[in-house]
Symmetry: D2
Subunit: 170 residues, 4 copies
């Protein structure tokens, strides 16, 4: 079973510390795949994503967004013993991919056209949650952002905004 700790609980913990984290939602969007279906699709079409363990996974899909998780281990670290920018980029990129697969349909050939990422705090090995929000879902482009949070206080360690190009329906 993949997602024992729902993202909301994180939010509740965060609130206790004086942090608030609401994921804005466009309820008019209708996901067509849930998290389990997306994870199954990822395992099939993108085997390189998780070479061994379930490092990157969809935790939840909801109208207008999703939550993804990186279970960061030793191999995701960089000098300074913090999770590398590349591992966090991968989490952001997979967050957008889960958004597009779940909301625009399971066409694996959607591709990132650009992504801008800011690194705010260091993160140790452990779970890092990515809270994704679809900012625009058009016919050919989807724009999303993602807050990546980690640690006992659920602080934002990185943030990214990206665009996926959606291929024409075949």
């Amino acid at each position: 079973m993949l997602c024992r700790r729902p993202a909301r609980k994180l939010s509740q913990r965060a609130n206790a510390k004086g942090l608030e984290r609401h994921v804005p939602v466009d309820k008019n969007m209708k996901p067509v795949l849930d998290a389990a279906e997306v994870n199954a699709l990822l395992a099939k079409v993108f085997p390189q994503l998780n070479e061994s363990a379930h490092e990157y996974q969809a935790i939840e899909v909801f109208p207008g967004g999703c939550t993804v998780r990186l279970n960061a281990t030793e191999r995701h670290l960089r000098p300074g013993n913090t999770v590398s920018g590349t591992a966090l980029f991968a989490l952001a990129d997979i967050g957008g991919y889960v958004c597009v697969l779940s909301h625009a349909g399971p066409d694996a050939l959607s591709v990132t056209t650009n992504l801008s990422i800011n690194f705010m705090r260091k993160a140790e090995a452990g779970p890092i949650d990515g809270h994704c929000r679809i900012l625009k879902l058009g016919k050919s482009l989807m724009v999303f952002d993602i807050d990546m949070t980690a640690g006992p206080h659920g602080q934002t360690i990185a943030h990214a905004v990206g665009t996926y190009s959606i291929p024409p329906k075949r």
Copy 2:
């Protein structure tokens, strides 16, 4: 089934349009200036911002963020009769400036080091609100993001993430 408690439970206070917009807040941050004080400072140190009317202004300052507004007129439009990217960039940039002035103190010499902006929807002349959130407030850098919303449905028309460099205390 993977996740029982979806993040959108948070959406129960959603507005009539089915869109929800919560600005995450770090309640541990303490603003040192309010919106009126920031507007007075802007008028004094940055007269170029509002050559005539009160086009760009701080609406609210709260712990961890602020709201700014552009009252877009004919002169902010570009071909297609939509608010220009430059006018929206200016709103994003002033949103970050209000964040840094209100939270790091009234040093006018803080400067933007980078800003990444996505344009999602067209906006007509009229008020455009910028919902700003401080993602990190360090000694020398502040990172923020801003959702720019407009129109009867309060849709996000643009989104930006930027960094301000804060000069050393003198």
Copy 3:
């Protein structure tokens, strides 16, 4: 007459200081408008760009790119007496617009979808040259970057990368 000091001369001066500035070029691209034609088009469809003087202008169009210029005055300054981020954003955005108008044809309704800008050095009032390069010219998207240089040493004061969405041919 608009461009007395061609961009290359800047480059030659720069070389004397130990700086080199080559604009990479894809010679397979064929511009369909030259700088004078683009300036005439801008004056017609985008009167807001230059409310009074010729502040923003195309200086040169060449296969795969263009040079644009901002003649920055007092009104483009921000606190610290340096050219504002907004004025430089406008130069970057107009650089992309000149690229798309000159290379994809004079459809004024091409719009910026995103732009990421870095500010490296302060610039005083005076001419700021934007050296633009088309990184990709597709059917529906054009990606470009721009080096903005100023001052006696022709140093890069800002750099941006952006994407324009090109409307379908009508």
Copy 4:
């Protein structure tokens, strides 16, 4: 006629493919490590970078920039059999890291603060070269960009701009 001496005169040394790629250089910068020294440092402080083969490596260090290479294999691909965005992000990030290590000195604790990447064309498995240029080398921040080229025509497949934070000298 507007401009007599077009910037593309610089293109006369263009290559056989009609594409030209000059990396602008600030000759006043003095690298303190060469490519072999940087590769040795990377192997020591960042073993996660190349788990098995020499996938990511510095090819050349020159004043004001460097060239890095990704030897992309099957494991760097994503759906569509193209090199993944994450593998290209890693190349861009390592390009900036090589710039900062070689020019600001071998302090492994410099970290990326932000990076914005655009993906322009698909790339197959094989070598991908990253041409890096230092846009600014300050005391605490370094800004760089990178053109990533691949394939028989050496086309730009991706482009990134990023910032590294340099820790204070100890």
